[in-house]
Symmetry: C2
Subunit: 340 residues, 2 copies
Amino acid sequence: MTDPAPTLRDVAEAAGVHTATASRALNPKTRQQISAETARRVMRAAQALGYQPNSAARSLKTSRSGTVGLVIPDLTNPLFPPIVRGVESVLEAGGYNVWIVNTDNDEERERAQIESLRSRQVEGLIVATARLDHPLLRRLHERGVTMVLINRQVEHARIPAVTGDDATGVAAAVHHLAELGHVRIAHLSGPLTTSTGRVRARAFRHAARDHGLPGDLVVECAHWSEADGAAAMRELLGRSPDLTAVVAGNDLIALGCYDVFAERGLSCPGDVSVIGFNDMPFLDKLRPPLTTVAVPHHELGAEAARMLLDCIGQPDRPARSLLLPVSLVVRGSTAPPRVS
Amino acid sequence: MTDPAPTLRDVAEAAGVHTATASRALNPKTRQQISAETARRVMRAAQALGYQPNSAARSLKTSRSGTVGLVIPDLTNPLFPPIVRGVESVLEAGGYNVWIVNTDNDEERERAQIESLRSRQVEGLIVATARLDHPLLRRLHERGVTMVLINRQVEHARIPAVTGDDATGVAAAVHHLAELGHVRIAHLSGPLTTSTGRVRARAFRHAARDHGLPGDLVVECAHWSEADGAAAMRELLGRSPDLTAVVAGNDLIALGCYDVFAERGLSCPGDVSVIGFNDMPFLDKLRPPLTTVAVPHHELGAEAARMLLDCIGQPDRPARSLLLPVSLVVRGSTAPPRVS
DNA sequence: TTGTATGCGTTATCAA
DNA sequence: TTGATAACGCATACAA
């Protein structure tokens, strides 16, 4: 911005009043203390000058930034935009603005980004990058930083969190495959350093056992990505060529399976059935359309935002966690196993 | 954040120096004026207290926010996340932070969001929501607000912009279809209120004429969305049932075509070929994989950021526009027309 | 109803 | 090399 922005003082001078009066006239909450005529004059002057209150000055004076930080790994992962929008929808209605940062799953970057948010005096944090062992978050929590986790939890720290009901989702996936007649079912888990990865892997083992199936066909992906999903799938096929179905840790990992099928000339669901997790956009248009577990991402974000507002309102409130229901969406990537 | 954050004063006291000294010790640019020993003491104290400079106070004093605003319509449109990351990659390297806002294509919301950005003293704006007739942007530009447009332009205002070479992309699409033998080629254009929509539609007409084809098979979509693409496709099929190929204004509109094909039992590319625009993620896994024009979104963002940095550096620099090359990606949604 | 005075936390100018 | 002081723009307690 090039032109020297007009200040409250400019407005006050233009309206022929003192800055204090101008301030009161411009703030809806104090406008009543001012004569209607004066208020009108001030507001007109502000309008004419294109006055915008300097939020740095306001925040310095009131020690309220009206800002919340949202920490995500990577905006280009289709999982996150809906979460962001959900967060924004609630916080903006509550008079807050949201500052989004990406960490790229890099600890140092995360530290720097959160530091930057703190220096901006954010009044709270919504964090979607939590790992089970996360000293940084633990330390912030101990220091009294208000925060809510999305989709993840941290060990040994009672931090409020909003997550999907992963265990139930995985159970539904395994049940669906078992009903179709699958016996050799594998799980390509996400990183076991994340609560999400660990919860889903454990749920897989439990569900497999409940159906009297082997629960040991698990390969861990290094990251929640298509490439790592493909790598894990190759390893899995080498180890257990007789498998007929895969429960992927998330949709991207499932897409990695698709890549391997294309490489090896395997047909899905003919040779192998696959189930994803998250129901990210456009999965219904894939070849084949991906069966997956739908997670209400927008709601996840919205609920986390609501929870954060609660925490800001009453700081001593005990940490609560919210589990949102998920649902299996059956599409074309699952079918009965080929009879061999 | 609950605990009263330590201030520079706390650090200074802990280190036994004056705040001015502490300030100089903490700022790399002024640290040289300070004895190494004192500097070390101050930095250690800052570390111990977990001191974070209050950016509101700094920005108030220096009248530099170190922040740039990024205005996009909707983060959940897969087009935008790569642009955001491109913008961030350059601006963060340049010492700036990026504040992202969504407008939902709502004029009032856009006005409010930009106002909010201005009140935060952003030093520049990158805007991806421009319409051809855009009084708000024109007014801001006249007021000397530094900004760069992405993917769009505004009529009657010389505002710097970075866009893909849409005309060449559309020409390549039409050429590809003509070579395959298509004659009845239609265009589902984006909104003609956007420069992108208008440029692509005009390019379509020109390209059609160059190949001796009818250029009048054009239907305008109300928005760049799957639903509006489907609606336009239905209208198009009603009007010209003999068409054999469609150049969609963007990938989402192309997906709308897929929906109509499913509704009506048409096969793609058997009955109708389709080409999208943008090459958003995962199109290669669609049924059929979508032929499209790849636009370098990350680079678009990065170049816009570079341009903004230039503009901030030299405010009187004449507006330049940058056209980035695009490329046709041929996949499975295009084939020769069925011989009837 | 309006004006005066003060301070939020930081940096920049000046003096020591 | 360091300290004292002022000022950025605003909101508010207090005085008038």
